[in-house]
Symmetry: C3
Subunit: 158 residues, 3 copies
């Protein structure tokens, strides 16, 4: 086996571990297990979900923020797509992943939908890959008019 | 090549075959080819789509159930995400995969949406990987108020 | 390493490059970067988005068509799922990939949704994998009643 073969195998395996990390987040969020979510982030992580939902530093703060934030909904579904991961080296990667987040509101209000991108930094720790940075950038929403960070869509020339 | 490299390559290839199995189900369902769906299950499979849609044992019964069930809709789209597969050994795996199922109803009724998880068991057969067990667990729905098995979302402490 | 191992590794790596190509299309479309989209197609590509949106031959024509077409929307989100790629040989592959395309309309009209399949041909070029053919086949829509190529869903026997 050449060194290049070896690099390809390692990267495919790491990519799979990062994908598993991304989907574990969704399952934990949608079952309302904020402590499990915290375990997916580094101790010194930084997240930013937009102006209304705010940011947090550190895995414990992320868990606390999600515990309060997710309690507002009767149910949620977070579906990922377009997973794109680029390695900066053997132990660090950056990613952009689409999410469609569906929220069933309490009190009979209409379902809230979000179409967005997670802009992430992943790092390898002794316990495996973890999310070190997460910033939510929003493509659009329906009945979910919070103050989001929007993606930087190029202007249409008229 | 080390034994560990070999194991990684085999598992990545098996994972791809299982992913192809999962997406083949969606294409066959959405083109209304129930016989093709049957070929994706083991002969002695067990499926459970919830109280209203019911369960079935055996690939032929699954095909028969889908033939009747899907005939009710004018069109469907089944989109998978968050594919998560864990191997129990070389020839068996368990999976949780999200599905967003869109249904165009007959007679001008509003579109029915389902956000759910397939909880699956996959087994390797001489013909390749097949679905041995499938249980649908529902995160939420819109205009699709059947009696579903719901996911076990943790209660919100007040 | 056996020849079969080598083939499996190459194919997994190629599959990842094709997946990255597919998701790059979505990011470029949703940020309104038509020139970046053009770079994902072969010079002599052929695309067909249906009767209303029309087709185009050549990467420059695809970019021009997308520049005009996407300008109509205030925002878009293209989410892929069910990626299915089959190799015809070392340098050519065919794919069927689901897309849910959400469009925020100008002027307060209701959001337009499309559930469809991209039927693609991919070829390896000196610069990497590119899309040589793309044909959009539609499973269904909501508030998006253009003249589409529909998928060939089997008739329901009564």
């Amino acid at each position: 086996m050449t060194d290049e073969d070896d690099r390809v195998i390692r990267e495919l395996a790491d990519r799979q571990e990062i994908t598993d990390l991304l989907t574990a987040y969704c399952r934990a969020v949608d079952l309302y297990h904020p402590d499990e979510v915290a375990a997916l982030f580094t101790e010194d992580c930084v997240v930013d979900y937009g102006e209304t939902l705010g940011g947090a530093s550190g895995a414990a703060a992320v868990a606390s923020s999600l515990r309060a934030g997710l309690a507002r909904y009767e149910a949620t579904s977070h579906s990922l797509s377009n997973v794109h991961v680029v390695f900066d080296g053997p132990d660090r990667a950056e990613g952009i992943t689409y999410v469609h987040a569906w929220h069933k509101m309490r009190g009979g209000k209409p379902d809230a939908h979000l179409w967005a991108q997670y802009h992430d930094v992943f790092v390898r720790t002794p316990e495996g890959w973890r999310i070190a940075e997460r910033r939510l950038q929003v493509l659009g929403e329906h009945d979910f008019p919070l103050a989001w960070h929007k993606v930087d869509r190029a202007p249409v020339e008229s």
